[in-house]
């Protein structure tokens, strides 16, 4: 039985990885999950210098979902290269580094600093809704998205995954734009922008007012977008948004995802990813499927 998939020339032993920002750089979750069992580890977004992130409260629970406005707190690329990459290299898994920035220059600086590091793939987060200056604009305008892809590609030695925002009128336009810009893969969806109000205090629950909605609540939107993008572009897709079980992961694969990422579900069950991998194996056994790649995009 073959569970391995290929993203832009990088072979993952299975299609399951954490979604950026929900798994740190793996260290904390290594108490719960054998990192070597995962298809890849995707790190929290990393920027050129340390970012302090937003004020608290940074999260709120919603029905079958949650809002977050962490605001990309991270130690910056230097400490990241010194500490997190060597840590991850101890494990037999692929390393995907999520990159964030406020300007094209900042993105390029991080990508350049990572270019000689033992990193397998770069995921460029042009869609984080929580950063005031810049960030989101790249992910909501096709021309900006194409331009930043082109720039980043100049500095990258690893294949580039562009992470798309769902807060757009037409996700296929965005996917086509980054493909035209040279993206080697796309990942989707990032969070939907949302808000929660404490009606007793008459105040925003999050210090940042708005936050990104994730979790099972958004899965139908995510599956739809993966399906649409699969019809529109040729690059491989990493699908995410509300995956909490093998069946959820299979929905994304059948819709067209080559691999899947699991975010919010880690908070509900820190051992969810190995369970999903096992569930994929069970499904393939049950339906006599020898290669998981035969499932990609076959829904009808």
């Amino acid at each position: 039985m073959n569970l391995s998939v290929n993203i832009a020339g990088v072979e993952l032993k299975n299609p399951v990885m954490p979604a950026s920002g929900t798994f740190g750089s793996g260290l904390e979750y290594s108490d719960f999950v054998h990192l070597g069992e995962l298809g890849a580890v995707v790190t929290k977004g990393v920027s050129n210098v340390p970012w302090i992130g937003n004020d608290t409260p940074r999260i709120a629970e919603t029905k079958s979902g949650m809002l977050n406005a962490v605001g990309l707190q991270n130690p910056g690329v230097d400490l990241f290269l010194e500490r997190d990459i060597p840590y991850l290299k101890k494990y037999d898994t692929k390393i995907v580094v999520n990159v964030c920035g406020k300007t094209t220059e900042e993105y390029c600086e991080v990508v350049e600093r990572l270019s000689d590091a033992p990193v397998d793939l770069l995921e460029i987060n042009i869609s984080c809704p929580n950063v005031k200056a810049g960030g989101i604009a790249f992910g909501q305008d096709p021309e900006c998205a194409m331009a930043i892809t082109q720039e980043v590609k100049k500095y990258a030695k690893q294949p580039i995954i562009m992470k798309l925002s769902p807060n757009v009128t037409d996700i296929t336009e965005m996917a086509k734009a980054v493909e035209a810009g040279g993206a080697d893969a796309v990942s989707l969806i990032n969070t939907l922008t949302g808000m929660k109000i404490d009606v007793h205090r008459q105040k925003f629950v999050l210090a940042n007012r708005t936050g990104g909605l994730s979790g099972p609540a958004i899965k139908p939107v995510a599956v739809r977008m993966v399906y649409q993008v699969f019809q529109a572009v040729d690059v491989p897709i990493i699908g995410m948004g509300g995956i909490a079980s093998a069946e959820d992961a299979l929905e994304f694969i059948l819709a067209g995802a080559t691999a899947v990422a699991v975010g919010t579900a880690n908070f509900h069950n820190p051992a969810v990813m190995p369970e999903i991998i096992q569930g994929l194996v069970n499904y393939m056994k049950k339906y006599n499927i020898s290669d998981i790649q035969d499932l990609i995009g076959v829904v009808e």
Binding site: G24, L27, P57, I59, E61, N68, P75, T264, F267, H268
Partner: protein, 253 residues
């Protein structure tokens, strides 16, 4: 490997209005728990994804029992309040750093639903203990704590003990100590932080923040810290992992 574990509900009762006293059996967690640490309790209802952090109130290591005392604050704790003996729940822990133990003369301060962790702390501290409890009105856990030291009570409405805050009670009873341990609402922690700095007393505060992962990975639960945090090298420590207990001079409240 650490993991989310199943626990057996041994008993549950309401010890004051909306305050529940839950005993569960979970030997692995009970075996490792230290005062000031917490557990995460998961909801059975699938619309509620995030686990709820609840402090460890008392531990019976030999039997593998844990006591949790919590207030109904929303839907999750309301769900827990319906648990009855023989039910099963999912729990993760123990989490966080816990209070540093010593044999110094101590004041233990608990405010409202910050009182529960003071019980296991009182049981484990070896030095002289003065225990100050702040309530809005109705008392709970005060009898349990009396076994371990002098208990001074402050109530907002003056129905028992000092009318006012725990600081008022400390002053009224002329308490002094080499170390203060505290858990309770932010205004109380702020007042104690100031008190400790002014009186130059070692002081440990247990902080509260919204949590998602509970293990230091998601950066939901940070508090402003004086020093840079080791994890992201900014001035934001993680309450779940670097805390929930911080030395008073370490954090900005």
């Amino acid at each position: 490997m650490n993991e989310k574990r199943e626990a057996l509900v041994l008993s549950q009762g309401e010890i004051a209005k909306d305050i529940f006293d839950l005993w569960i059996k979970q030997p692995e967690i009970a075996g490792a728990a230290r005062p000031g640490q917490f557990v995460m309790i998961y909801c059975e209802d699938n619309s509620r994804l995030l686990p709820r952090p609840i402090s460890i109130c008392e531990v019976n290591t030999a039997k593998g029992h844990l006591r949790l005392v919590y207030r109904i604050a929303g839907e999750g704790t309301k769900e827990f309040s319906k648990l009855v003996s023989a039910d099963r729940i999912q729990v993760m822990g123990p989490l966080g750093n816990g209070f540093p133990l010593s044999a110094k003369k101590a004041i233990l301060v608990g405010g409202g639903i910050g009182i529960p962790p003071m019980l296991e702390l009182a049981r484990q501290l070896e030095g002289e203990k003065q225990i100050v409890l702040g309530y809005r009105d109705e008392l709970f856990l005060d009898k349990d704590l009396e076994k371990f030291g002098q208990v001074c009570i402050a109530t907002e409405d003056g129905s028992t003990g000092t009318r006012g805050t725990v600081i008022d009670a400390i002053k009224e009873h002329h308490l002094d100590a080499e170390v203060i341990y505290a858990c309770g609402p932010t205004p109380m922690l702020k007042a104690l932080q100031k008190y400790a700095i002014v009186h130059n007393i070692e002081c440990y505060l247990s902080m509260e923040e919204r949590m998602a992962c509970g293990i230091g990975a998601c950066l939901a639960c940070v508090c402003k810290s004086v020093g840079k945090d080791e994890h992201t090298n900014v001035h934001n420590k993680r309450v779940c992992k670097d805390g929930p207990v911080f030395e008073a001079r370490e954090v900005e409240l």
